[in-house]
């Protein structure tokens, strides 16, 4: 494994619930740790924290609750997982929804995440496209979206990624003092005959040439890494490259399709047996698939569809 210089913070999201985000977070973490990387996993699925179950350990006593309610520094909340080099910061189960987190608390959490002293910080996001979820996704060096070959999951994924880009553009325009423009245009999109994000961007560029460069830079920096989970045939793999193509050609968003995992019953069995999948079934085909896309993520490469 040769690591790219960048890519320290990885966030795993994608919109729809139950696509396998938490399972994938735990598996990537286990694989990196087994390969001598110092890794911390953070469960920020507020209200639905269950990452510990995929690692086969009990719910840690310390959690983000301590951070939010008592101001405990984030780094003091990391607990051992029983796997060398791998620790876990457990999610909050006391707050019912992520709406309840205040803006200043959120920024403080982001600052603490960025200061964690590990080679890899992997963030497991909850389902949905809530602003807090998306903002957490955006702090990552690698934004990873998990999707299933199924129409609702695909729809939610597009929604999630469009929202992510919209919020990112909004944030950067805010830095330059232009936040009102993007909000103004989007709110009056009927009047401006704007149907989608792509047209909003084009319209902004046409109307305000000075922000064109800002937008272009932000968009070309924005890359989504796609993982397709629960595929049921080798044909399904091509859905991954279709999604990537549509993101690019319709939305102008760069995406890399890094890999897939087949539907495998031993995955939930492994949770029931309370053993990390990557240790318990390390020789299975799905474990190999996870290793392959983790390597692609490390190196910033795409899945090669055609063998050479």
């Amino acid at each position: 494994m040769i690591d790219e210089k960048e890519g320290k913070i990885w966030a795993i999201g994608g919109g729809k619930g139950g696509t396998g985000k938490t399972f994938i977070t735990s598996s990537i973490g286990t694989y990196l740790a087994k390969n001598r990387r110092r890794v911390v996993l953070i469960d920020v699925d507020i209200g639905g924290a269950n990452l510990h179950s995929f690692l086969g350990i009990n719910r840690p006593k310390k959690s983000l609750t301590n951070f939010f309610d008592m101001g405990t520094p984030l780094k003091n909340l990391a607990v051992k997982t029983g796997i060398g080099n791998l620790s876990l910061i457990s999610g909050d189960i006391h707050s019912l929804s992520s709406d309840s987190i205040k803006f200043t608390q959120k920024l403080k959490l982001f600052r603490h995440i960025m200061k964690l002293n590990r080679q890899y910080v992997i963030i497991d996001l909850g389902g949905g496209s809530h602003n807090n979820t998306i903002d957490t996704f955006l702090i990552a060096d690698k934004m990873i979206a998990v999707v299933e070959p199924e129409i609702i999951a695909v729809e939610n994924m597009y929604h999630f990624i469009k929202n992510a880009l919209f919020r990112k553009l909004r944030m950067s325009l805010k830095e330059y003092g232009f936040k009102e423009i993007i909000d103004h245009m989007w709110e009056r999109r009927e009047k401006y005959r704007i149907k989608n994000l792509r047209e909003l961007i084009d319209c902004l560029k046409d109307s305000f040439s000075y922000i064109g460069d800002i937008l272009d830079n932000e968009i070309s920096d924005f890359t989504i890494y796609l993982i397709l989970n629960k595929i049921r045939s080798s044909q399904d793999i091509f859905i991954g490259s279709s999604l990537k193509s549509i993101l690019l050609k319709y939305l102008g968003i760069n995406a890399k399709f890094v890999g897939y995992i087949e539907y495998d019953d031993s995955i939930w069995r492994s949770v029931r047996e309370r053993r990390p999948f990557m240790l318990n079934y390390s020789l299975s085909r799905s474990a190999k698939e996870i290793e392959a896309f983790t390597e692609n993520l490390i190196q910033g490469k795409e899945l090669k569809l055609m063998r050479s």
Partner: protein, 188 residues
Amino acid sequence: MSRKENKKYFEILELSADASTLEIKSSYLRLRKLYSTDSIAISPIADEFSEKSRREILRQIDEAYAKLMVMLKDEQRKSKYHHKSLDSGKVSKREEKEEELKFSGQVLRQIRKKMGIHLYEVALDTKIRIELLNEIELEKFNSLPHEAYLRGHISNYAKYLSLDSEKVADDYMERYCAWKGGDKEEPE
């Protein structure tokens, strides 16, 4: 035009500039299929985009493919010329034959193999007999069923490989009809 100058077209076909002929072909057929039919990848977002933008994407894909085909023919001619000057005019038979740029049984076979798909998988999923699939790939025109059925099979097989079935079937049937009208000698 060199590969570097054609960078834009490689990008439209979502390829790197060192892509092989086969990669160019299969990427072209895959993208044509994606933007000309409905699928779970496109339908959730389709209503945000007009028919016009879909057609524009298809036009760009066609244009990119046409340009790259010209480039490939150019490359072939140059390498032939190169060999000629080296071997004092002797050109091997293989090189003399312009590389087939249409979609033939052989191309289907190559694409399938590159994708790592076994013939039996295709047979199981398309319900086309494995022997027939093999004969289609090898263009054993003598053993193939009547035209009307044949076209359907070719098109199903192309769809299975996520390729534009119309294009593949048109090209294939053209070869079939040429054989039928000609001296009935099967290609080796």
